[in-house]
Amino acid sequence: MKFLISLHINPAVLDALTDEEKEAIGVGHGRFIEELKESGELILTQALVDPSQAAVVTVRNGQPVVTDGPFLEAKEFLGGFYLIDCEDKDRAVALAARIPDTRIEGLGVEVRQVMFSDGNLEA
């Protein structure tokens, strides 16, 4: 079963962390990736640039309009994701619990099953 583990970040929360805490997050993700690769459960992971670098695209009356900045005036943004293939939802949740973000108040880790897949998986 495929699941997307999405990481919801809050730039203000991240800014408030000490250097040691930030480093621990980086190390924790690195270890998590290695574990997933070794167990054959990782499909793909990507991290996104800061939400301030986002562009929101709309087309009205056939005219594209591009606005700088994130779509929602929210505190939390999508920071990245893990796409995994594992036994069942319990396993996906157990894996998600190893992500360092789960230990930090104000950061969110969400698990949802994938419903449709396409694309070049060899990439």
Partner: protein, 422 residues
């Protein structure tokens, strides 16, 4: 890496065609035999499996242009054995040991003519492995599929499957498994695991667990092929016959299960003339055979239910009393909320929708079923039959939101649209 060289080859078969299903099928059939021969001889499942994969690859490249050797199995055993020698040598060299003795250990000898498919299945379905690893290893070591083919079938990257297979092999080695049949006490239990893995492979092909593609027939066909080979070795086991029958009967309906647009067609609306009669006849005969074997098991009973459906010329002709009776027995033999759910459908046909709904109510307290899309969709279906379109609409919509299958979601939304209150 040394390229495997073929042994002095007998003259190529004159009729040897170019690349085609002939060679592919031949290689798939030979893979477990060759692997079995090597593992019997040298132990070290892990190394043998790699060596056989490389020999099969060499054959796939060479045979189409050079012709199939007169003894294809002997060719593969020789090439794989040489590859294993190379591997052992390089392992030894790495450990700075004398390499000459290693070569002496693995000398290809004569090839005994035995089918080791079952032994390999027992090994691949080792209880120390997760179902995903058992499945991947079985498809590669016994099914003869390449890592890339398995990756495509499960829509995951090749590296993911490769990691899974290599980890599975490590675990088997760590568990200290030898290449012998498990003892009588474990054998029965291990066979259940094997059948379950084959069932999972079939189901993955029959209904994709997620994704837009409803049917990945290749995996279903592969599961049938492997189950046939188990049946050939254990024809007296009622559950093996039952599982094969269940697969054949389900596969027979494949042409009628989806519309040209890929939409799901429920059993009662399927064009039964499109069902594959030959598969149904074979499946039905197997069910009769399986039911004659004492102590009923779940695969036989499910196959008997499928056979009852296959027996009805139209949905209206279905012997629902028999279906319900079989579900009652199945509930006793293998209690499971999904079985109860299916029995509710049959009960509704026999005694009316209210009886079915009353049985469904007993499942609400079951944590495994509460909010499950199948419970929601069956309830929607029975509410529709019972003349409660508003309730049916709500449950179809909730079921559509809960299902992980895109095809099923489209189907449920379509049903919701049909009963939508004005």
């Amino acid at each position: 890496m040394t390229a495997p060289t073929p042994p002095p080859a007998p003259p190529p078969t004159p009729s040897a065609p170019g690349r085609g299903p002939g060679i592919e099928d031949l290689l798939r059939g030979l893979t477990p035999q060759v692997l079995g021969t090597l593992v019997r001889k040298y132990g070290r499942f892990e190394g043998c499996e790699d060596a056989v994969q490389e020999a099969v690859l060499a054959a796939a490249v060479q045979w189409p242009s050079e012709g199939v050797p007169g003894n294809p199995r002997g060719w593969l055993v020789t090439v794989a054995s040489r590859r294993l020698v190379d591997q052992v040598r390089s392992d030894r060299a790495r450990r700075e040991r004398e390499s000459a003795t290693a070569a002496a250990e693995v000398v290809p000898g004569e090839v005994p003519d035995t089918d080791d498919t079952l032994l390999l299945l027992f090994l691949c379905c080792h209880p120390a492995l997760t179902a995903a690893s058992q499945t991947a290893l079985t498809l590669r070591a016994v099914g003869g599929l390449t890592t890339a083919e398995i990756a495509r079938a499960f829509l995951v990257p090749e590296a993911t499957v490769a990691a899974r297979i290599s980890r599975a092999k490590q675990r088997i080695r760590a568990a200290g498994s030898s290449f012998v049949l498990p003892g009588d006490a474990d054998r029965e239990e291990r066979l259940r695991v094997v059948l379950h893995v084959l069932y999972l492979i079939f189901n993955e092909g029959y209904t994709a667990s997620s994704g837009g593609e409803l049917d990945r027939a290749d995996l279903a066909r592969e599961a049938i092929r492997l189950t046939r080979s188990v049946y050939a070795q254990l024809p007296g086991d009622g559950e093996v016959a039952g599982l094969l029958a269940l697969m054949l009967l389900a596969h027979a309906r494949r042409p009628a299960r989806t519309t040209a647009a890929g939409d799901l067609v429920p059993l009662e609306e399927q064009d039964r003339t499109a069902w594959d009669r030959a598969l149904i006849d074979e499946g039905t005969a197997l069910v009769k055979e399986a039911l004659a074997v004492p102590s009923l098991g779940p695969y036989r009973l499910q196959a008997a239910i499928a056979a009852t459906h296959a027996d009805a010329a139209s949905a209206g002709d279905t012997d629902w009393r028999q279906v319900h009776g079989l579900y009652l027995i199945l509930e006793r033999v293998a209690p499971n909320p999904v079985v109860t759910l299916n029995r509710a459908v049959a009960l509704a046909e026999v005694e009316g929708p209210q009886a079915g709904l009353a049985l469904l109510a007993t499942l609400d307290a079951d944590a495994r079923m509460a909010g499950h899309h199948r419970l929601l969709s069956v309830r929607a279906h029975l509410l529709e039959k019972g003349g409660d379109p508003a309730g049916a609409y709500e449950h179809y919509r909730r079921a559509a939101r809960a299902t992980p299958s895109l095809a099923e979601q489209r189907y449920l939304e379509g049903r919701a649209g049909r009963v939508r209150p004005c």
